[in-house]
Amino acid sequence: MGQDLTGLGLNLNSQENLHPTFAGPFADQPCRAQDIEHNVPPEYLVN
């Protein structure tokens, strides 16, 4: 019967594109906001 493809951790009904938060082929959750690199002003790089 194949798999229930809705159970692979991808929000297939999302209005947004999935690839910008795609966490990879072996992850069953999309990336969270803290996983996604973002171009912040260099001053924010406090560390």
Partner: protein, 517 residues
């Protein structure tokens, strides 16, 4: 071999010096200044004197990083987490150096030097990986190489006006490398490879940001590499865990593509179906279910849906695979064309099976790419032929033609295995509303109603049914064909014995019928 004496020591000294600079500068306000000073030092050590010396330095530097990876991964004293952090710090620093060398080599107006250096670096790492895999066999570890490739791609994808202009060249260089590193060649690297080609930044670049879809063909090549590798393992239904993980990862990638880039799957479906094993029903359905986002599909269960009235059925789908080249040998193609043109010589039909059958080995008797190409080619020629008479393909206009002679001959003359592949080749064209879907839907229904044996009708039913009973998604063209088969009394579907061959089958048909009514 034959490195100048002392090169390895020099390389290590320079790398450690660079690591020092990198870590003190890590979020430095001016990394390029630090890099400029370091370049002078590399010059002093004669590293940048010739192409050959740069090549040697990069090979030494890569080997230094890989050996450091293995040392840390195999050190029982430290945890995997600590080992990884040490490995990543070293490789990230090394990658930053490489990225800066690529970014600043040659003057701004001369991108070739940058891209040549990038290709050289990728080729060196590729060579070391393949040699390492061969030497270490099952002790091979992908981590260092994985880190190198992904970080170098992320560094070269950072917002930078010079690199932005080189994005197609950069992506091409990585695609070329990943193609050479395909899982059949580097099975020890297969999981990392799938991670790399499906990384969100890589997919975004190659499928979305590069203009005019110039990355699509390269990406289809990488997916073909993946399907070719998986095929022999997927042919045997029970999947070992390592295969299952890679297969599940492939499904995730295909779902992302189906959701974000359906037109990509539409355009390259033919090549993918050539290499996906015929028993991978659901994976193939994901590809066949794709339809252009600007297209609205009428509900297949709409009563009295007049498919041939849909405007889309007049338009041929884009097929970017050069499938005609698979119709070999040339003599066969010539005979085929002359038969299509003049419906002669009649011997062509009786020789057809001989061209398609390549062995007597059960399960691999037939040339699948040839079968797929022949069916699509004959079908497209049929549409052209019908249109040339100012007609449109339908149940009346597709009959009594050289094209249908060929299909009917294949239906009758092939054995079970061959006919299964033949019917699959047709069913692979049942996709979103377009002229191919419409023609092949009529063709398979015509083969059903004209079949001279119930076995053929049963096999047609099986081929359609096995694609419908798997979990979603289901291609639109498949649904409308099956609904027509079970609804239209002209096919006398319910009178066939095989429809009642077992209670659960009968129930299944009735449940499908109920959802249709």
């Amino acid at each position: 071999c034959d490195d100048p004496p002392g090169l390895q020591e020099k390389t290590e000294y320079l790398l450690k010096d660079w690591f020092q600079i990198y870590f003190t500068q890590i979020n430095g306000r001016d990394p390029v200044k630090a890099f400029g000073m370091f370049i002078n030092k590399m010059n002093m050590y004669g590293i940048l004197k010739t192409d050959d010396m740069i090549t040697r330095f990069i090979r030494q530097g890569t080997q230094f990083c890989i050996e450091l990876s293995y040392r840390n991964l195999n050190d029982p004293q430290i945890s995997q987490g600590v080992a990884k952090t040490k490995i990543f710090q070293c490789i990230d620093a090394y990658v930053r150096l490489i990225a800066l060398l690529v970014r600043h080599s040659g003057d701004v107006g001369n991108p070739n030097m940058k891209i040549n250096l990038l290709n050289k670096v990728l080729g060196i790492v590729l060579g070391i990986l393949l040699q390492d895999q061969e030497l270490r066999s099952t002790s091979f570890q992908q981590l260092g190489y994985h880190r190198f490739f992904i970080m170098l791609f992320l560094e070269l994808s950072a917002p930078d006006p010079v690199l932005e202009n080189l994005m197609l060249n950069i992506v091409t260089a990585f695609c070329h490398t990943y193609h050479l590193l395909n899982p059949s060649t580097a099975p020890g690297f297969c999981y990392s490879w799938l991670e790399l080609i499906s990384h969100r930044v890589f997919i975004g670049r190659i499928l979305a940001q590069i203009p005019q879809q110039k990355g699509w063909s390269m990406y289809s090549q990488l997916l073909m590499d993946l399907f070719k590798y998986l095929a022999p393992f997927l042919r045997n239904a029970e999947l070992a865990k390592p295969v299952q993980l890679l297969y599940k990862g492939t499904l995730r990638v295909l779902l992302v593509l189906l959701h974000d880039f359906p037109e990509f799957l539409c355009d390259y479906h033919f090549g993918f179906c050539d290499v996906i094993p015929p028993n991978c029903i659901q994976m193939r359905n994901i590809i066949l279910a794709a339809f252009p986002r600007n297209m609205r599909l009428p509900d297949p269960f709409t009563p009295n849906l007049k498919v041939d009235m849909l405007p889309e059925t007049a338009t041929a789908p884009r097929i970017y695979t050069d499938y005609v080249k698979n119709i070999q040998p040339l003599m066969f193609k010539k005979d085929l064309d002359s038969y299509l043109k003049a419906r002669a010589p009649v011997t062509f039909l009786s020789e057809l099976r001989g061209h398609l059958q390549i062995s007597n080995e059960p399960g691999s008797r037939y040339n699948i790419p040839l079968m797929n190409a022949l069916v699509l080619y004959v079908g497209t020629q049929a549409i052209i032929h019908i249109r040339s008479k100012n007609l449109v393909p339908n149940m009346t206009t597709i009959v009594h033609s050289a094209h249908m002679d060929i299909f009917q001959n294949l239906a009758v003359d092939l054995d079970n295995e061959g006919r299964y592949l033949f019917l699959n080749a047709i069913a692979n064209q049942l996709r979103y509303p377009n002229s191919h879907t419409h023609y092949f839907s009529c063709a398979v229904l015509y083969l059903f109603v004209e079949a001279n044996s119930e076995a053929i009708q049963e096999q047609i039913t099986r081929v359609l049914l096995e694609r419908l009973i798997v979990n979603r998604p289901h291609p639109w063209g498949l649904l409308i064909t099956f609904i027509e088969l079970i609804k239209n009394p002209v096919y006398k579907f319910w009178e066939h014995e095989f429809v009642h061959c077992a209670p659960e089958i009968e129930k299944l048909f009735e449940s499908v019928a109920r959802s249709c009514m």
